[in-house]
């Protein structure tokens, strides 16, 4: 029995730790918070600061004096406003389509299937979610190609591939982020008690009525939680549009090109504020729905 007791010095250390709860907490939190606050939030903050700098057009070096120039260009230049609007509409479109696809499938999984089959379908959903993002976008590139699978499927109906462009980009973004919409809705529906649905049908409501009056209001926070993912992920994407978008440009491409080819980091930082502010604005709009607790 004695061998199972802790040795003296360890006991002393652990009783010290036991008495000093604050120290235990400090040990646990110091490293992660240093990483996340100093390193990560610090980087975000310094990027925010650099958005107010500029680049000397002759030497290409950073000029660290305060200027609104980058933001003025973003707001006044027609091309940026057009690209920003296009990006936001694509992100909204993707969110709406994914919500429409996700609701019935999540309902089917949570309320129609047996628990065993339900687990299987969750795994089937997670598989494509974790399959490489790039591989999935690439897969659609081959589908959309001339003489590819879509042409083969649609040609008998007199249709063909839409080719690389905005439509293809929207479809692929819908595809990429669909599991992010289904999973929160499914989790929300699983928490919804079956007794409510039984009561509704006992009182004479049909499937459609039960869906509108019972399911939809209760699953709304999860729906919004999913939409945060689909919206934010679509807004920040520049890879998909490069792969299947042809010459189409979305807002993240503006940011990317200014870091890379143009080498104008301050302008890229200023442009990066557009999706950040849009996403924060979206979060602010939906904060009352209880979605943030459902992430």
């Amino acid at each position: 029995m004695r061998a199972n007791l802790a040795p003296q010095n360890e006991l002393r250390a652990s009783s010290w730790l036991h008495r000093h709860e604050k120290s235990r907490l400090a040990i646990l939190l110091s490293a992660p918070l240093f990483w996340l606050i100093v390193a990560y939030l610090g980087s975000l903050f310094s990027m925010f600061i650099s958005a107010f700098w500029s680049v000397d057009s002759f030497t290409g070096s950073l000029v660290k004096t305060f200027t609104w120039e980058n933001f003025q260009t973003l707001i006044t230049a027609d091309v940026y406003r057009r690209i920003a609007l296009r990006s936001i509409s694509v992100a909204l479109m993707v969110t709406i389509i994914d919500a429409l696809l996700a609701l019935p499938i999540a309902l089917f999984m949570a309320k129609v299937l047996s628990p065993r089959k339900r687990q299987l379908l969750v795994v089937l959903l997670l598989l494509p979610l974790w399959a490489s993002y790039l591989v999935k976008a690439y897969a659609w590139r081959t589908l959309f190609a001339n003489g590819g699978v879509l042409d083969w499927l649609l040609n008998p109906f007199g249709l063909g591939t839409p080719g690389y462009g905005l439509a293809a980009t929207t479809i692929v973004l819908c595809y990429l982020w669909l599991p992010y919409m289904i999973l929160p809705i499914y989790a929300g529906l699983e928490r919804l008690p079956n007794s409510l649905l039984e009561a509704s049908s006992d009182l004479g409501a049909g499937g459609g009525r039960t869906f509108r009056s019972i399911v939809l209001p209760l699953v709304y926070p999860s729906l919004i939680a999913g939409s945060i993912f689909t919206f934010s992920l679509s807004l920040g994407d520049y890879i998909t549009v490069k792969i299947v978008g042809g010459k189409t440009q979305l807002f993240a491409n503006v940011i990317y090109d200014n870091v890379g080819t143009a080498g104008n980091l301050p302008f890229a930082a200023a442009a990066a504020m557009v999706p950040v502010i849009t996403v924060l604005g979206y979060l602010f709009l939906v904060r009352r729905s209880g979605a943030l607790e459902n992430l």
């Binding site: 007791l5 036991h18 310094s46 997670l126 870091v259």
Partner: protein, 270 residues
Amino acid sequence: MYFSRKTKLFLQALSTIVFAFLYIPLLVILVNSFNPSKTFSWPPAGFTTTWWGKAVENEGVRTALLTSVKAGLGAMLISLLLGSMVAFAVARYQFFGREAISLLVILPIALPGIITGIALNSAFRTTLEPLGISFGLATVIIGHATFCIVVVYNNVLARLKRVGKSLEEASSDLGAGSWQTFRFVTFPGIRSALAAGALLAFALSFDEIVVTTFTSGAGIQTLPQWIFDNLFRPNQAPIINVVAATLIALFALPVWLSQRLSEGAASGRI
């Protein structure tokens, strides 16, 4: 029960279509890796394993794969440590700002990758380069670990909340030290959640390209970067396709494993 037969059939039909939508592109990749046509004309005219042989011999693929594995392991270890520390603090203590922690942890993955990428890129340039640390594997690992913390955190936190405190209290009442309690009571309880989080962190890192682009510098290339660089070269298409097919097959494994390990606890969470 609650739905009419018609509604059920409608839901089932829609679900079948959506699952087909999710899987057909992946299946096409798998089939195309055996397609003898270099441009993947469809339907395939025959069957060949040439591309698989060429991909295995490809030097670029092998180097990139090794880099990706190293980055994934590094990011996994760091996020495992940091993520479980935060999860312990949130699950077992009351402190000011506890509610904000979840938001802080999820932020690196909630913000678009390009934002995290640029922010880290300029921060590394101003702080690490003067210290003599140049862009390379280390910076990639730092970047990846930042957004991998959340998967470990979510898995471990969910488990700690479910297991509860009573066993740990019983252990220390019976005279065990903090370390003994952790070693014999807490750790066995959360072991599988740690493993699930670690697997998902590795998978997340292995797949990442956006943050990688901004943190890798010119010297190294992860597998997703190799794929993207070669995507627009028609000659490389069959080899990319083989790499893609391999990745699809490989990714099934960690997801299935982590699902088994966490008994579905991670299903609703990313």
